[in-house]
Every structure is written in C-alpha cells, then in structure tokens.
Amino acid sequence: MLKTNLTHVLSEKDHAELLQNNENVMICCGRMGPMCIPVYEVMEELEGEYKNIKFADMEFDSPDAKIIRNLPEAKSFQGLPFTVYYKNGKVVKATSSIQSRDQVTAILDEHFKQPVNETTQN
C-alpha cells in the first residue's frame, strides 16, 4: 500500500466501485518514488479544495493495476506515475510523469468544473 493520505485503490473491484460511486475521479498510479510523491502531495492538498472530486492512488506494481497500465490512453506512457482522470466512469484525460500543482488544477478545472456555490448565484 502506498504511504499517502489518499484513498487507496487496492483491486479491480475497488476501482470499479470508486468509478461507480463518484462522478469525478482522479487516480495516480505509481510507486513511492521521486516523480510520484510530488503528485500525491498535490492531490492531498487539493482534496480540501475540490470536494466534488475523489482523489485516489494505486500501486503501479500490483497485478490489478493493469486496469490503469493497459488503458489505451496510457499506451505511449514511459514515465511514472500514470495519472488518470475519470468522469462518469470514462477516461477524460491521462498524464505520464511528474506534474505540478498548476498542471493538475488546469486539468481539474477543465474537466471537473466545480458546481457554482448557491450563495453566489443571482
């Protein structure tokens, strides 16, 4: 299990349940390595800000991680981690290697627009 404070996806079943129960999901599939840790840290920080998104991780070397490793969207990937963004169970974006907070938030803002706060609506 990865040493993060994120939700851990441990099996294909967990993965299916996560996608079924959440409209917007970001999963970072990696190891406890130098390119992956910064992405986990960004996700941990964003968890409080993006309540409409479920943030999770998955161990790259677990056999069930083939559900991410074998995604057509990850076909050209040759750098850890593989980070996948799902909307209603479908992949909307996938990235390879380290990503900064700005790069991650740009994707979240594009694909998972936060619902407008009712109190600010006119």
């Binding site: 990937f77 750098g79 290697s97």
Partner: protein, 318 residues
C-alpha cells in the same frame, strides 16, 4: 498582524526545514513558503546512506520527518505555491504569493536549492514521460531490451548509464566535450561495459516523435554536422542549476548565479540570509544543507532579537 512573521523561509528542502526546526523551537514565529514538494531534492533520492545517525532512509522519509519536526515546534509550512513578488530591501520584507496573499517579516532566509538542468532542445518538454526521463531508478524498467541514450559526462551520468544496462539492450552516452568530468572509476566501469558506446563532442538539438519519442537530432560540436538517430528513450543527467532566477538584480549572485554569503550565511542585504544548495559553495549534500540551515536560523534569530532590543530601547527613550 496575522500575516507578519519574525522570519520567512523561502524553500522547504533540507536547509529550509532545518531553519524551520531551529527557529520554531526557539519560539521565533516562522513561515516556510515552498514552490514545489516539501523536501526538495531529498524527495528525488531513493536512499540516503550518508546522513549520520540514520543507517539507511529514503529521501522521502527523511523529508517527512523533518517536516513533522518543524510543524511540531509550531512552524507553518505552505507548499506548491508561486512567489510572485519579493521585496527584500526595506526593514520589513514583503512576499506576495500567487499574486494575492501578502506575507511580511523582519528577516528572510532563502533556501531555494537547485534543480536538474534541462538540455533546452526542441521537443524536450513534449516527450517528458514519453521517452525522456531524468530518473533512472524511476523509469529504467520501461526500457527493457530497448535502445537508449544517456546524456552527460559527470558521475551521475556514467553511474546511471551502467545501472541502465540492467534493462536496456544498448546504451549510448552522449557528451558535449571530448573528455569526461566523472571520477576515473565511473569512466572505467562504463568503458568496460559492452552494452555501452560513446558519442563525444556532441549535443542533442532536437527530440522527434509522434505520440512518443522516436529519434533525436545530434550535432557534432567541432564539425557542426547533424545526424538523426532512432532511439527509444533518453535519460538526461547534465548537472544542477541553482534556483535563483527570481533573485537576479535583487541580491548579490556570483557568475554561476549562486547566492554570495559570509560565514554567518548573511547576504549583501541586511536581514536577508541564505542557506543550502543555492549558495556559493563547493559541496552540496544533505549534511551541508542542514548545517547551512542551522547557521542561517541562528543568525536570523540573533538579527530579530537585536531588532526587538533596538525597538524597545527606542520606545524607552521616547
């Protein structure tokens, strides 16, 4: 004022976190602002075996322990942010974060460290994670039985080239000069490895591919001749640069853009100290960053105390 601190530390690597531990423990109100991941280069290190008192530890674990230690003493750490404006000249220092949050302090410690140097060739950014890597231990296994290039001529490049032969069928080392900067035993080990070949006096000028890297264009530095080589991956180890771009024209830097400090880690600006890999020094290690961070923290605390003393004497007189 909630956003006023005795000390603001810029950078949360080994130097900045150490400063945070010392200052907060001494009840000096301290804020650390960090652009990337807390831990800095320590997080890039799989295993640290030369940090005294700890036999073997991953860089991530060491960084996490330092962070917890600092926070336990009351240090506030904010990470993954961008410093958009820095005013170090006046008596009160002013830092603007993400163009909106303003923090002020009596003193500043700069501990922004360094980062991997990029080649700067066309296409480099596009193929990061799709054929270009800066970490052999992270991405080596994607290149099982593939042909790869290692760029560089220092210890890291030659050591990593040898380690990558565990996976790759062929490793070509490309170096810009006609000789290596690495220690002799690294060079010998690479030369003795039959999977390794060398292209000297050459630089990659372009990365080519569609979805992933397919080829590179290489230019010979003496003949200027350009050749294209088909390749599966490129690992880049061409040294480090200090993170001091934002300080140019603000603070004294030497010709290599390192911050100039005295033995107390004082810069040329009153109340501004610096520590770690971003300063002018010969050896860059966790131990030396920790030592610099300690000295900078103690110097900054002394500066704060003197300021407070001067202020209270001034109040007594008036």
């Amino acid at each position: 004022m909630d956003n006023h601190f005795d000390v603001i530390v810029i950078g949360a690597g080994a130097a900045g976190l150490t400063a945070g531990i010392y200052l907060s423990r001494a009840k000096v109100k301290t804020l650390i602002l960090n652009e990337g991941t807390v831990g800095g280069q320590m997080v890039l290190t799989h295993e640290i075996a030369n940090y005294p008192g700890v036999e073997n530890i991953s860089g991530y674990e060491l960084a996490r322990t330092m962070k917890t230690q600092a926070q336990k003493f009351g240090c506030i750490i904010k990470s993954n942010l961008k410093i958009t404006s820095l005013d170090l000249k006046g008596e009160i220092k002013r830092v603007v974060v993400n163009n909106k949050d303003i923090y002020t302090s009596d003193t500043i410690i700069i501990s922004t460290g360094g980062r991997s140097r990029m080649i700067g060739a066309i296409g480099e950014e596009n193929f990061k994670g799709k054929g270009i890597s800066y970490c052999a231990t992270c991405d080596g296994d994607f290149f099982q039985d593939k042909e790869i290039i290692v760029v560089g001529g220092g210890n890291s490049a030659l050591e990593e080239a040898v380690s990558l032969t565990k996976y790759a069928s062929k490793v070509t080392i490309i170096h810009q000069f006609d000789h290596f900067q690495a220690l002799e035993h690294y060079v010998d080990e690479a030369k003795e490895n039959e999977k390794i070949s060398f292209i000297m006096e050459s630089k990659i000028i372009e990365f080519i591919g569609d979805e992933k890297l397919d080829a590179v264009k290489i230019q010979n530095q003496s003949t200027q001749e350009i050749t294209e080589i088909k390749i599966d991956g490129v690992f880049i180890f061409i040294g480090y640069v200090p993170n001091t771009e934002t300080l140019q024209g603000i603070i004294e830097l030497n010709q290599w853009k390192e911050i100039v400090v005295d033995k107390d880690m004082k810069t040329n600006l009153p109340g501004v100290f610096a520590a770690g890999d971003s300063i002018q020094k010969k050896y860059r290690q966790v131990t030396t960053a920790v030592a610099d961070g300690t000295i900078a923290a103690l110097s900054a605390a002394e500066y704060c105390n003197n300021l407070k003393k001067e202020l209270s004497e001034h109040e007594l007189v008036h």
